[in-house]
Symmetry: D2
Subunit: 291 residues, 4 copies
């Protein structure tokens, strides 16, 4: 298929490589062009040029604003994507933005599918992502070979695209909840004299033998939050989007509120460049265990 791929950050780079490997005809676009170096695909000068004449255009960008910038305007995707073609958005964006994109593409005779992914950069490179896709059934069927090229499994969430974004956001909320709960448990047992490493080994060998406990537990025990795999401001953004989606639906989420306050505390105290898991160190700080 003829594909445009916009957004060559840590995640997008791996996804684009895998689409190229799978034999698709890919045109790339990135705001700063250097990121495309070494990829066996031409680079377009504008978002619109990467969308023109394509069957499918992927976007993998940092946030709502970046996505708006490539989608709207005279040089944007919307103005250049052929009628009947599909915009697949894999970015973690707001539910509101997904709804706005669905409407805009429909008015332009184009299709829109939300397909956010679970997995960190190494999973993107290894084509091991999990994909939560939502959109028209026929569109998702057409996209199946592309999803297979970048991920290990697709979950079809709904025919309404924005629901995939809700699922993605809620997933990040669940991960942040794991971080907070581990942070509190570690603060408690450590102050009580238990060895943190042995404690984590116990947890992750028994009831909590999921990757998310191992990954984040280790970061917390080692207090190693740099370099950031997923930076604190991005985590804060995602919790903000969870709370915004919940507010629109009148769903109170006290644990998400707690996470919000943790992220703001972290950012207010020098955590801008740390991994988002550093919120898990605040329980230790509050209990007087960090200088």
């Amino acid at each position: 298929m003829k594909i445009g791929f916009l957004g060559l950050g840590q995640m997008g780079h791996g996804m684009a490589v895998n689409l190229i490997k799978a034999g698709h005809e890919v045109v790339l676009y990135n705001r700063t062009s250097g990121r495309a170096a070494g990829l066996a695909a031409p680079v377009a000068a504008t978002p619109g040029a990467a969308a023109a004449g394509r069957d499918v255009v992927f976007t993998m960008l940092a946030n709502d604003l970046a996505l708006e910038a490539v989608t709207f305007g005279t040089d944007g995707i919307l103005a250049h994507l052929p009628k009947g073609a599909i915009h697949v958005c894999s970015s973690t964006i707001s539910v509101t933005m997904a709804e706005a994109l669905e409407t805009a593409h429909k008015q332009a005779g184009q299709h829109f599918v939300s397909a956010p992914v679970f997995g960190r950069p190494d999973a993107a490179a290894a084509a091991k992502l999990f994909i939560a896709a939502a959109g028209a059934e026929v569109d998702i069927a057409r996209l199946q070979p592309l999803f297979e090229a970048i991920g290990q499994r697709v979950f079809v969430v709904s025919s309404t695209p924005s629901r995939a974004n809700l699922v993605k956001l809620s997933g990040n909320f669940l991960i942040a909840s794991v971080i907070e709960s581990l942070g509190e448990a570690l603060a408690l047992v450590a102050k009580g004299g238990v060895d943190e490493k042995a404690y984590l080994e116990l947890l992750t060998s028994t009831l909590f033998n999921a990757p998310v406990y191992k990954t984040y537990g280790q970061m917390l025990v080692e207090r190693k939050f740099e370099p950031a795999g997923f930076a604190a401001p991005l985590g804060q953004k995602d919790i903000r989007l969870v709370l915004a989606a919940a507010e629109a639906l009148n769903v109170p989420l006290p644990l998400a509120s707690l996470l919000r306050d943790r992220f703001l505390t972290l950012l207010a105290n020098g955590g801008q460049t740390l991994d988002w898991s550093a919120i898990g160190s605040l329980a230790a700080r509050d209990s007087g265990q960090l200088a």
Copy 2:
């Protein structure tokens, strides 16, 4: 070894059976004697009688009060257990109580080991428990064959017995945190139109493929909280003990505080006989999704 086993509830019954099977000479005691029916071991008339002349006495009881009742007094363990013998406490009790028991047994020339277990009744029956043991190294070494008879793995936590209780309590806090976070996530996506079962399948096939997410996620999705595997009042008790231990150490735990309020809400609204996972339905209730 000559073993006394006190407390033949859902958990203790399985553990006692496995100790008998392993060839140890076991004397049983339960407050209500019917629970010992069918077990190939004699039943003592008092706690003290089950402790007299034994190498090791196990207690697997509901709470601090029940443990106090069998330990102290003229008919209690303390008055009858031989010098040098070991009291192994597998109950989920307070840190304070564990400290008191350690002191009392030391004064009586006896030994005390805390060995709380992770696992539900089926794991107890199948000798698949995880054991978090804390106490003197020599005592734990002596107990090794007994632990092997009842569990699949022993984690030696500390030489201070009460630290195993802290670990156990923190583990229950982590499980309750999973329940709360799942409850909030489900309330959000369900009100947003996502199918809850498909959502849970996505979670537990990807980042959250741990038993605890599967078990409790299913209960929440099916809103099936009866019969209670672990009743709400017991969950409330454990969060209370977590908070008490944290207070003694000056460790603020905002997520545990949230859980406390959830349990009280549940108990105040007819949840006395429900499984503790029913706290995970309160987010849906607060968002107006339950009649």
Copy 3:
């Protein structure tokens, strides 16, 4: 002075009446014109017409959106207010919106002053409002006679207009905090068998003898939340704006987060038309005291 007054709701009506009484030449505007009936002042057909040729234009509107609607566009204030004239905004709006208005008016050669007020409709009618004003010193000096016509005291907060909005929002946060704390205290003592009326009498005769405790305490004790003096959705909006302002400044506010969740719970459970003080009944609900 020649004054335009936009927004004749419960609050604005009283303020406009008092400006007219004070002898100023007032032109009125309201989205639905009936509200101006009986006022001794001409009614303009558009926001711009109410601003044209005026020395000062007041806006007293429900929220950011309503204010945007009268300010921007070809028929708006910005396009018609004379250079050097002042836009005085008394609405409870976001900090961000106040910043945007300051910039827009400056670019148009006009002045902008934020002057939100404290007090309910009866205080507006009686010219007893408290005014928190922020803007250029000379502008506030020119406005002094107008402020005296509508209020009992002016507090000059800052030369930066948006800071008055921050003060106003924080004030509403403090009131909502009083409601929540009273709601929890009443739930506790009532379930413990204490008469709620006698309890409130004790509080408001001693340490808590401020109008805010009397007003809201009585509403809570009588469970009388209709008709709404200040409706729940407006309260929710203000807490949202508090949290948004706090997020922009990286200030975690756990009590405001709690209030947010209370408002969402209220709105999700049929509270749309109730007074915002109804959040104070949720503690009683959660403790099982309301059917």
Copy 4:
């Protein structure tokens, strides 16, 4: 009347002086005898000696433990107070302890009245306390002249003594809520560039013109938490007792939970000797405003 007065701390000293001034025949007792120096009343050697032959015995002690120490045992009040005499407890104690005392005195043929007071040491010295009394109607009638000697007004709460303790505890919860809300509001507006003193002046001149806002607002603005008028560990104790009473009644109190965590954070970070109002500085700390 013949009165025994036990507990000559900052509060008790003033109360005892006023009872002596009013012409009653008072016998004093304090754990450390120096506190009675200069008072025109004899000092008893034991609590029991201060109770023997008295019509009424007052206790004004720091906590449950101190009260237990003077009440029970062979030298205690219970063993020496005449039948028909009244024990008036003005200490801030737990609901559970008040219930236990009521039962114990009834069994001894004695009477028990809970009469905790609102006011700080200066109010005690000036006989300006507010008294929340609960107990048998006839007992309270007999005590009326004594209450008039120490306070400015008596509120009869209930015929069940422990309810007065619940009222007192809830009052301290309300004060701590004021501190927390002011702390958050100040952290927000200060980081937003508003002058804290001017802001407090605005609040306390308008809606929040109650002593509690002035007193604690000033301490927060001046960050002056030493010397402690009411020390942080005592505040933490009272919130603990509020939560314990609420737990016994199944009343979730999320704001009290927040306060609990604030107090633990304060105590874990060097706040042992500070005034309890120092919890109001934690919002500023978390927002990065304190070094």
